[in-house]
Amino acid sequence: MVIVSLLPALALIGFFYLAPMIISIIYSFTNKTLVGSKSQEFDFVGISNYIFMFKDSRFIVSFINTLVFLIFSAVLGQQILGFIIAFLMQNKSKGLRKFVGTSVLLGWITPEVVVAFIFFAFFSVKGSLNDAIGLFGIGPIAWLFDFAMIAVIVANIWRGSAFSMLMYQAALSNVPDEAKESAMIDGANKFQVIFRIILPIIKGTIVTNTILVTIPTLGLFGVIFALTGGGPGNDTTTMPIYMYKQAFISYQIGYGTAMAIILLLLSILLSIFYIKSFRYEM
């Protein structure tokens, strides 16, 4: 009977989360639009939305952009930077740890749109970055036009590294000092200690963290949308941005949801890996 207290939460999740997923599977097989005659009397068109997707060069571009963005900003960028910070912070004074930790965490708690404005200013032609490289006689460079993908990747690294930092701090505190010391005595240098001793010990955290940083980056919308709007052209149009444009700008609900399903399948795949790694650790 105590189990009844589970029901309100499960009902809410079912209604607002699972039901839309099921609806989206159905819509993805239709030619439904947001407005006009096809918004009410839509037809089932089989898998033609999916077939069209793979012929749609702009979708292919958005898919590749998503992969590039994921790999460089989350899988490599956030994780490597987060690890470096966590690693260097070991055995440092409390004051320094607090200063560095807070600076990194501020990026994490800053709201999405504000992150976009901050980097809009930072990367603009008359922005801080060009000021800095100007001191060396370089530039000015139109970052948001010529290197827009790099700009959104940097913004996401700035925003997300704190999570990896915290994860690796927790993992590194569990690495026994004896393991590191005995390797040092055997003549291993710092990099050998990292690659041969530390990384193998924390590989469980690396697997989990890779998935945990990938998921929010896969669904990231606000930062890219407010910073570049997916442009210039389609240079920074990731799948969520393209999905939004198709569904709400071009009113192609059927096609938009088909794209959402692909996004969902990708995250389901990641989620399964996540649960597998979780089970493995239990």
């Binding site: 809410l12 209604f15 801080s128 669904g219 606000g222």
Partner: protein, 272 residues
């Protein structure tokens, strides 16, 4: 000696990294006090509070903050209550399928909200609950419940069962037990869940951007984006002031509750 030097090098590298994180952020602060705000970080030429006055004297900006507060407060309060109710049986009872429920919840946390916004919009539209602060709050509640239930359960697992058994013997009912035994012990956990939910929805842009179409309902996240679209490329000072005012509540909340937050994070980290 070498050790000493190495220690120094890593300190310098750390300070360098930290300054790279702080550097872009400084623009919001410097530009918001600069009467001739530009896009670069610099000490304000003419120190002024006019940007703040301009932002705060606009009633629609006020309303956007109020909307944000209504959404985030409703959502995080509901999240705390519902996740506590849900976590209790998951922590205490030995029902079959408990493990499966926990794994399913974990699975759902891995699905980005972005992927379901198009069908959620259609569903809200068809049910005529679109453009409502309440339904938006309810959706945001559902979105963070799975994760919150996990955290809440981890906190609850630490409460000794013997305390409750005494209460049961004394004839306390379910609600009394929760209120008198569980709540006082897991208060830090409830704070963690509340703060994470609050800052998550306060900073969320996509959900209100899709679900709240009218200007009167727009929370700060959307209002500030629209401001950026209209004036942001001219009135840098006001954009920065608006951004800072919008970011402040989360920063304050975060520092006030940093102790709880970190302990909560370690919890979820160690039980991943």
């Amino acid at each position: 000696m070498i050790r000493y030097l190495k220690k120094h090098v890593s300190t310098i590298v750390l300070i360098f990294i930290a300054s790279l994180f702080i550097w872009p952020m400084l623009w919001v602060v410097s530009a918001s006090f600069d009467a001739q705000a530009t896009l670069t970080v610099r000490l304000p030429k003419d120190f002024t509070l006019d940007s703040y006055k301009a932002v705060l004297s606009n009633p629609s900006n006020y309303r956007s903050f109020l909307n944000s507060f209504i959404i985030s407060f409703t959502q995080s309060t509901l999240v705390v209550i519902l996740s506590m109710f849900a976590a209790y049986p998951l922590s205490r009872s030995t029902i079959k399928g408990k493990y499966r429920i926990m794994l399913s919840l974990l699975f759902i946390t891995g699905l980005p909200i972005t992927a379901i916004m198009v069908p959620v919009y259609m569903m809200f539209f068809n049910l005529k609950i679109i453009n409502s602060l309440i339904s938006t709050s309810l959706f945001l509640t559902a979105a963070v419940l799975p994760y919150s239930i996990w955290i809440m359960k981890n906190f609850m697992d630490d409460v000794p069962v013997s305390l409750e058994e005494a209460a049961w013997v004394d004839g306390a009912n379910f609600f009394q037990t929760l209120k008198r035994i569980i709540v006082p012990v897991i208060l830090p956990g409830m704070c963690v869940v509340f703060i994470m939910a609050f800052s998550g929805s306060w900073g969320n842009f996509f959900v209100p951007f899709i679900l709240l179409s009218s200007v009167e309902k727009a929370p700060a996240a959307v209002a500030i984006y629209q401001f950026f679209g209209m004036w942001g490329r001219v009135a840098y000072g006001q954009l920065a002031a608006f951004s800072l005012l919008y970011t402040m509540p989360i920063v304050v909340l975060y520092f006030v509750a940093q102790r709880f937050m970190l302990s909560g994070f370690m919890f979820s980290g160690s039980l991943k």
